[in-house]
């Protein structure tokens, strides 16, 4: 029952997200809005329930499995990937490395900036 209650709650939030996005033509995917709404609910309730935790942990601990069917779709785009392998490979490898370095750098720089400011004031 725990898992069923939890998964139903997740589906209800996803459904509300999907409907709201379509109703108002919002530029974000339905599940993302569902996630935001669930997060806000948890913040307001100040706790997450046992059933919800069970379902969420169950789904998230097998997150890698969920990517498999989409990844198998690679076989459909084999010729496009072969034709454009160089730009795709470079964009994937360099783009991912750049994203990581820039994100980490921005976070470290902001932390240092914030740590320095009180000292200057004081």
């Amino acid at each position: 029952m725990q898992f069923l209650n939890g998964i139903t709650l997740l589906l209800v939030y996803q459904l509300v997200g999907e409907i709201t996005v379509r109703l108002f033509g919002l530029p974000i995917p339905g599940p993302v809005l569902g996630m935001v709404l669930l997060f806000l609910t948890l913040v307001i309730r100040k706790r997450s329930g046992g059933a919800l935790d069970t379902a969420a942990n169950g789904l998230l601990s097998h997150l890698s499995l969920l990517f498999v069917p989409a990844g198998v779709g690679m076989m459909v785009y084999f010729s496009r990937i072969l034709d454009e392998w160089l730009p795709i490979a470079l964009s994937l490898v360099l783009g991912t490395a750049i994203t990581m370095i820039v994100t980490a750098g921005a976070m470290l720089a902001t932390q240092r900036l914030l740590a320095r400011r009180p000292r200057r004031d004081g």
């Binding site: 998964i7 997740l10 939030y13 996803q14 974000i28 995917p29 599940p31 993302v32 569902g34 996630m35 935001v36 669930l38 997450s48 935790d53 379902a55 969420a56 942990n57 789904l59 998230l60 997150l63 890698s64 499995l65 969920l66 990517f67 498999v68 069917p69 989409a70 990844g71 198998v72 779709g73 690679m74 076989m75 785009y77 496009r80 990937i81 454009e84 160089l86 730009p87 795709i88 470079l90 964009s91 994937l92 490898v93 360099l94 783009g95 991912t96 490395a97 750049i98 994203t99 990581m100 370095i101 820039v102 994100t103 980490a104 921005a106 976070m107 470290l108 902001t110 932390q111 914030l114």
Partner: protein, 247 residues
């Protein structure tokens, strides 16, 4: 006699979603076993092993991707509720997030914009078609969200799904090495960078390093899914306005 029986069974199986669903789970469990036996060597990430095994199986049996997906869609569907479920770790880490809220938000916004711009620009520089460039743009976001964004900006959603998976595996492979090279020791910073660049697959890797890195990676993945879906359509319109023809 036996052969015709087998043919009949195959005709039944190839028309039912049961086979696609079962081989997905079997391939994943086998891939996971291999990964564990190899002491979690990131090169043997279970996602890529399972995908390669399934492609080999489909090619050998002459099954089309559409027929396979009849069964695969049941697993694929769970990406939606899994995205919603990200609210739970996000909420559980909320108090730890508050302490570094400003640096996280700044890093996230810069990371998301630079990430999308760099992927589009590199692909463009080396001659990728506009659809491929746009399919690459949301590659660092978790698959269900990335597919939605790709469709919206004019990419190919299923190509994006594949690129997202490969990005995640690359991020999981490169991440810890890159952080060691750059002498980044703070698990919170490593987690945020991992989550922004390599979504769920990177997050799964981050949890192997430390629970703190995993939690911050999951957090970054959830927040960047939101930031990217809010920012990327506008960013692409902006690029179209400046450069005109090439997107």
């Amino acid at each position: 006699m036996v052969e015709t029986d087998l043919t009949k069974i195959w005709v039944y199986l190839s028309a039912s979603p049961l086979l696609g669903l079962t081989v997905t789970l079997v391939a994943y469990l086998a891939a996971h076993r291999i990964y564990m036996l190899a002491h979690q060597n990131p090169l043997l990430n279970p996602v890529i092993t399972a995908i390669l095994m399934l492609i080999a199986f489909l090619k050998l049996t002459g099954t089309s991707y559409e027929d396979y997906f009849e069964g695969g869609q049941f697993v694929h569907f769970l990406l939606g509720p899994a995205t919603v479920a990200l609210a739970v770790p996000l909420y559980q880490q909320f108090s730890r997030l508050r302490a570094v809220l400003v640096p996280v938000v700044v890093a996230l916004l810069i990371g998301v914009v630079v990430g999308a711009l760099s992927s589009i620009t590199i692909a463009w520089l080396f001659g990728a078609s506009p659809e491929t460039q746009l399919s690459l743009a949301p590659k660092s976001v978790t698959a269900p969200v990335a597919m939605g964004i790709s469709e919206q900006i004019g990419g190919i959603p299923s190509l994006t799904a594949v690129l997202v998976v490969v990005t995640g595996i690359l991020g999981a492979l490169m991440g810890t090495r890159l952080f060691a090279l750059l002498r980044i020791r703070d698990d919170r910073v490593k987690g945020i960078a991992m989550g922004v660049a390599a979504h769920g697959i990177g997050t799964a890797r981050a949890f192997h390093v430390s629970p703190e890195m995993g939690a911050f990676s999951g957090l970054a993945m959830a927040l960047s899914a939101f930031a990217t879906s809010a920012l990327l359509p506008g960013l692409v319109d902006f690029l179209r306005a400046i450069y005109g023809g090439w997107l």
